[in-house]
Symmetry: C3
Subunit: 271 residues, 3 copies
């Protein structure tokens, strides 16, 4: 059932505005191009409203957050809200500093966020003000063992914020507070490539921008697509290759991903 | 006739100062190293004049422009002008915001720009205050069908600014207002790699810095070299590879490009 | 004797806080993941102390330095000093501008730096206020011919600062002012990949954070590991590949590097 969401991205080629960190911006841009969307990065408060106005979606990412960028996050978000463009929030490292925590709360209070996309540690921090912070790449484990405990917490955050919440981990969860997709695509090695989470957030913005009436399904399709590309990429690794090769091959897999391939490769159940 | 311009870069190894966006800075640096030049990135107003003073050329790029960087663009440009170093301006997304439009105009008014390098949409915005803006990677089409209409507009911009103008598209145009090189190197897939335009601007700065008395020919040689590397890169793609692989292979092709290869592969006519 | 230092990184998986330039941040992050550590990049003065508090080491890098980042370098460094975390300083381009020179001096005066890691030109600038600056990638030559002249200068800087000093060049030197490791790993082509120096600085932070009681040996092990990965990467290059391929293969080599491989491949003597 996810094929149409990839088709929509390829057909509509949404322009996605990213206010994001400088560590993984290049990968976000190339992944957006690979899926059929287009990227623009712009974070100066003086121009973000104009930039968002010519775009179809917005990706707000708190990695390498600067105090001076907070007004840009808010201004771009307000323009997106006014124009009905979807907004994806990636609260990178939100538990690590007061600046990131305060900013995430402010964005959730002052904007309508369409999708919150983070790892379990980040989502827990948003949900109940706690979580373990081990950098920006690791997280509390979201596994078969913890799924039943985690699910109500994530659904509750979705209901309270009105946003679809997408949690990345050993299993991925995507829920609007009612339906939850439990997704079993992806591979552990993706965590050893910096920015696969940021890329997924950018991709989610593209998928939701191309199918704005179906944010839950479009976000779940993006999560399946990213995980599937990780699997394809890993299966193509040659001996002696490592996380740098995987990084490129994930983007290449997205470039070549077909809707039928996504349909067939997506592994999920609903709860 | 373009072989000597590549030879000059390899021999003189010009140090190029880039004030550019954080999305594609790494690729610009590696492409400069690949062609035989050296990169330095520095954008704080407090140091750009000193940095430019030890360099041979300047690449000013408006991607991810910050208000606080505008004084750096001007200060570095003034130093380059004083010392007779070539200045390449890449007006990334100039039609998208007032900040970028105002900054581009200010740079053109207050500095002597050696080469303006952009896509057709950006060049049209500079030429007549209009153009369609679809992100930073797409553009109005510069094709056989539109060439005759576009050429006078671009020549006029070159004459009015005193700069060589290089327009990237399906066909590339490089003109000083009198002679125009119409270049048919490159491949469409290069547009799906973020930053090939930024890289070409950095490369142009290296070529012009190595042959400062021949800005038109050196810029045209850079455009041919970049397009040719795109063709070589595409011809080397394996099944399953995509835009991430192309990205690396373009830089690798530049690393291995020989002057005779450029001579033989350059496809252009003058008008 | 260097195998245990790599084992320690793999076992302890130190989280390394990087305040670094936007040109090579992605490569630093992926190399840290490749060696078994984790990265976080954060440079806003408002959050760096909190970020450093959850980390095990700090990498301060002066590339693309911004005036507004100087308080962040100092605040993160003070927190690291208070908590006993190692601090690696990479004085990128320190001879190029007064801003970088002044900042490097201030960091050396106000912080306890564990390791200073730079090329010979940068180290000379710190040691005696001179040096030739040709961008950030090139340097005075550190070769068999200049080794005897350079060694006392570098040892003296180590003694005066109390830091281990690591100098990169044709030969690498790592010294605490008494013992000096002269290391002959690596290959010249690494200089044509932007950011191999920055990556080595990040790697050094990881190695020293994992073995904080042995900063000299851990830093020397990091230098050997990086050089060895450069050799492995070069030996795996296919015809037509260049510096972009080398860039990825270095990180992949680190991902696959085993302690016995490091033990066997490290080429050094002490003086």
């Amino acid at each position: 059932m996810f094929a149409p969401y990839l088709e929509a991205v390829r057909t509509r080629a949404p322009l996605i505005h990213n206010i994001t960190n400088y560590v993984t911006a290049n990968d976000c841009a190339n992944l957006l191009l690979a899926c059929g969307a287009s990227p623009i990065m712009a974070d100066d408060p003086a121009e973000v409203s104009e930039v968002q106005a010519v775009c179809a979606g917005l990706h707000l990412n708190l990695g390498t957050l600067h105090t001076g960028t907070v007004p840009a996050l808010l201004a771009a978000g307000r323009t997106a809200n006014t124009l009905g463009h979807p907004v994806v929030l990636d609260p990178v490292g939100v538990g690590v500093s007061a600046l990131r925590g305060r900013t995430a709360r402010q964005l959730l209070e002052e904007l309508r966020i369409t999708v919150i996309r983070g790892n379990l540690s980040e989502i827990k921090t948003l949900a109940r003000g706690s979580g373990t912070a081990h950098g920006v790449d690791a997280a509390d484990a979201l596994t078969e063992a913890t799924l039943d405990t985690v699910l109500p917490l994530v659904k509750d955050l979705a209901r309270r914020t009105g946003a679809v919440v997408a949690v990345s981990g050993g299993i991925d969860l995507v829920t609007d507070g009612e339906t939850a997709y439990c997704i079993r695509n992806g591979c552990a090695m993706m965590r050893q490539v910096t920015g696969t989470g940021c890329q997924l957030s950018a991709l989610t913005a593209a998928f939701v921008a191309a199918s704005p009436d179906y944010p839950l399904e479009a976000a779940a399709a993006a999560v399946c697509a990213m995980g599937l590309c990780g699997e394809i990429a890993q299966s193509r690794l040659a001996p002696g290759e490592g996380n740098a090769a995987l990084r490129g091959r994930i983007i290449d897999a997205m470039y070549n991903l077909t809707p039928p391939q996504l349909e067939e490769g997506a592994r999920y159940e609903t709860r």
